[in-house]
Amino acid sequence: MSKNTVAITGNDATAYAIKQINPDVMAAYPITPQTALVQKFSEYVADGLVNTEFVTVESEHSAMSACVGAAAAGGRVMTATAANGLALMFEIVYIAASSKLPIVMPVVNRALSGPINIHCDHSDTMAARDAGWIQIYSESAQEAYDNTIQSIRIAENMKVRLPVMVMYDGFITSHGIEMVDFLDDNVVHDFVGDYQPNHPLLDINKPLTYGPLDLYDYYFEHKRQQAEDIKNSKPIILDVAKEFKKISGREYGLFESYQLEDAETGIVVLSSTAGTAKTVVDELREEGRKIGLLKPRVFRPFPYHEIAKALSHLKAVAILDRADSFGAFGGPLFTEIRSAMLEYGKIPENINIIYGLGGRDINQKDISGIYEQLDEIVKSGKVKERIQYLGVRE
C-alpha cells in the first residue's frame, strides 16, 4: 500500500477531496447522513487550509440558491446534501442545470420521508433524475473520493457545463470506515486545474442576464439544448476517467462489469450493495456457477446502449432497485434497462427486485437467493413474478 492509504469514513474522504479541490464557494446545510462531510470541511475552512468562502445558510433551498448565484458570478462552487435536503432544494436544482452551472454536489443517499427515516436508499437522487444533472453513483469511500474529483473536470468541461451529483450510500459508506488511497494535494490541484468561468456575471465589461423569463417561444429550445449537452457528456466522462487512471491507477467507466463476460445470469445493482454482491459472485464462481454482475456508475446520462449490449448475452438478469417508482412498471433502473434492452433482438429474461428501502439490510444470502431464482427462471423459462419486493414482511 502507498503511504497515502488511510482508514477513513466516506464522508471524511469526500470532505478531503473537496479540500484538495479547494472550491471558491461552498454553501451547505447539514443533514444526516451528510453532516460529517460538511462539518469536516468547515474545519478545513476554520483552520485556513482552504481558500473557500463557506456560506452558512438557513436551509438547503438557500444552499442551492447561493450556489447558483456564486456559480453564475463566476466561481467554482460545491455543496453537499442528502434526502430531504435535496427535496428542499429541488426547485433550484433544476435551475442550476438549466442555467448550465457546473456545480458539484455529493449526495449521501438516504430515504426520503415519509415516514421519517434517516437510513440508506436511493429514493432521493432517483427523484432528481430528471433535473438535468449528471448523476454518478459510488460503491465505496474510495469511489466517492475519486468520483468527486473527476466530477469537477466533467462539470466544467466547456462541452458539458452541467452540474454533477456524486452519490454514495448513507451510513454504509458515509459512516463506515474503509481504506482509501488519497492522491497528493498537488496532483489533485493539477488534475482539476484553474477554474475557467463561462459568462460570469462579475465580468462588468460584458453585462448579461441569467434566469430571464423563457416562455413558449424559447423554453423548449433551451430544454432541447440540455438534452444534447448531457448526452454529449458521455465521452467526456470517459476521457476524464482515462486521465484519472493516469494519476491514480484506478479505472472507471460508465459502469463496471464484474465476471459478466462469460456469465449466464447476472445482477444489476448500484453502489454499496454491488460490493456485497461481488463477494457472492466470487463464492458462487468457486462452485462453478456462471454468474456475473453489472454495477452502473453513471446513471445520467444513462448509458443505455452500452448496458443493454453488456447484458444481451445473458439468459436471465435481475435488476435491483433501492427506490420504488410507485405505480410504475418497476423501479427506475429496471424501467431504464428493460427499455434499453429492446435495442437488441435477444432480450434476457428479467426481473425487478426492489430492496433495501429505508436502510433495510440486504445480505449475501439474499443475493445468492436472487441468483438461485435466476437459475430457476432459466430452467423453467417462466417468470412467476416480474416485480418483487425483497426483504419486506408479508
Binding site: 442555467s99 448550465k100 441569467y210 430571464p212 423563457d214 429550445e221
Partner: protein
Amino acid sequence: MTTNKKGWKEIPKGGLILEAGNSVKYQTGSWRSLRPVRDEDKCTHCLICWVYCPDSSIIVKDGKIKEIDYDHCKGCGICAAECPTNAITMKNESEFRSEQNAKG
C-alpha cells in the same frame, strides 16, 4: 409553429441573454386589454402620468407629453387613475385593433 425564430442550436445556452439593454425589443404592448387614450383638450401636461407609469410608456418631449408608447404600455391604468384632470380614459383594446393586426 413560429418559423421566424432561431432554432436550439443557434440561441445562447442556459437561457442567458448575452446582450444588455434589449428589453425594449420585447413589445409588452401585446399584453394590453385596455388602452389609455389621452384627451389633448383636458391634459395640462402636469406629467403626473409620466411619473407614475411603471413601464416608461409616457413619452415626453420639451416638457410636454408627446404620446403614449403603445408598443410597451401594458394597459395597467395607473395613468388614468392618477390623472388629476381625468384626461386619460381606458378604452377596450378591441375598439382599436382586430386579432389579425395585434402587435406582439
